[in-house]
């Protein structure tokens, strides 16, 4: 009964709701006290998928800019990077490009990246439309979802979609709608084969 373990890390500016997303997913609750995250926490959760069981290690990070230099060491063994922004804060949205860039620099295409627009419950303060989020996700070829940790909207789906995209032991053909994963995997191992011999056959 082998259970695959995967490390998932959350990134994003301070106050976008990284900890709240984890709390909602782990305990299906929302903590109304406003509390900045100190350092880093990690929690584990087992997930049952259609064809297998996996264990997700969720790493919550403090969004402090001073810690950015630590990201490389932190992302190195992560399979998934969840990059969160606050739909009511345009700045947090702009900064996601930088986070995604940092992750890509470290891991290339060896990592699943999910862009998350959180706080959809604050629709009257919305500054970033769903379309803008989708567009950016497409541009950077990452997955995309909008959530509300407070209202419990789409949080399970977020983690389920990420889990479904993880490489399995017997991976079947990747599903069609999810182009991202195909891209992820087809770049890695092929290259050395072409390099090994002068002729590729």
């Amino acid at each position: 009964n082998h259970i695959d373990k995967f490390k998932l890390s959350l990134f994003g500016e301070m106050g976008v709701g990284k900890t709240s997303l984890i709390t909602r997913f782990m305990y299906d609750s929302f903590d109304n006290t406003y509390q900045a995250t100190i350092g880093i926490d990690f929690l584990s959760k087992t997930m049952y998928l259609e064809d297998r069981t996996i264990r997700l290690q969720l790493w919550d990070t403090a969004g402090q800019e001073r810690f950015r230099s630590l990201i490389p060491s932190y992302i190195r063994d992560s399979s998934v990077a969840v990059v969160v922004y606050d739909i009511t804060n345009a700045n947090s949205f702009q900064q996601t490009s930088k986070w995604i860039d940092d992750v890509r620099t470290e891991r290339g295409s060896d990592v699943i990246i999910m862009l998350v627009g959180n706080k959809t419950d604050l629709s009257d303060k919305r500054q970033i439309t769903t379309e803008e989020g989708e567009r950016k996700a497409k541009e950077l070829s990452v997955m995309f979802i909008e959530t509300s940790a407070k209202a419990g909207y789409n949080v399970k789906q977020l983690f389920r979609r990420v889990a479904a995209a993880l490489p399995g032991m017997e991976q079947t053909e990747p599903k069609k709608g999810e182009m991202t994963e195909v891209k992820l995997k087809d770049t890695g191992p092929i290259e050395p084969e072409h390099k090994e011999g002068g002729c590729s056959c």
Partner: protein
Amino acid sequence: KREKDSIYSRVNRKPTPHKKKTKQKQQDGRVYTIPVYTDERPQGNRRRDNRGNFTDFEMTKEYSSTMPRGGFSSADGDYDLNDSGSWMTKFRTLKPEKNRRKEEKKFKDGERRRQKEEERKQKEQQKAQKKKKKDGRPGTSESGCKLSEFPMSSNNPSLPQFVETCVEFIDNEGMNTEGIYRIPGNKLQVELLQGKLQEDPSLDIHTLDIQVNAVATVLKNFFNDTEPLIPPSLHDELLEAAANITEPDDESEGMPDKSSKLLALRGVLKKIYPTNYEVLKYFITHLKRVSQHKSTHNMNSSNLAICLWPTLLRIDFTGKTYTDMTQMTRLPAIIVQTLIEQCGFFFHGEDEISEVV
């Protein structure tokens, strides 16, 4: 497995070593698009585009001229005729434009990654060198400008005008802003204000259309870019004093009570270089005022400490992992939280420690 077999039977030949490799890799769990051997193989002048669809393409000069009539020559000059010897097999060896572009891109990506890696290493080295240079003189500049080199406020000769301008604006405008000092300001506004304040530190921020979060970020950046407010040479002493504070109070005879533990911490703070001490005093006193409005902006002393200790206590994380950091974050946050809560005791000569509500 059957599917793979059928793939090979369809093309009616044994896989070449290259293809075997592909197959092995697939078995050990990694998945990627296999160079495809389906019955949809290119016919005539067709090739796959990057979505996997076949498109017609013109036989380019490049292709036709490099394509010997009898097949393609391999590196050793022999024509590469495998079992099937079909034209398409050789066609595939030509690495169509798409593949070449892909490889170029991958090469560039790799190059870029290597470059960034090198840059990081260089930076780490530079930091390490700087670290060596410092020899424990409190208040001297290890990185960034000395605070005393900035234009000073007319109200306080040891307070940079830059700091005063920002703090006064936040005092006036920031008390209702949720997450002040936590939520970063808009990048453009931050850059704009930084530039303007460098030109004229006594500028009235109200004349610019700038959100208070951006002002808080500018102030944070200022402290991050100048010499550390609290000199790194004092970090160990501070952490030691803080470790005592976190010990549960022992009421039994002969044990130090809470205020005497804080007194030890106050003693360490007094060692800070005068200008830095004045600025720290001014800033912490401001944070105390901010924390008193916690009901409107949710930033109590603990939250403020979590968001600001990395700026005030510039602990060097070079070469540290996130896990190391977790262990290193608790005490510094407690120091800053204690400074804010007991601001009167530490900086304004009050003898009694105040009760924390």
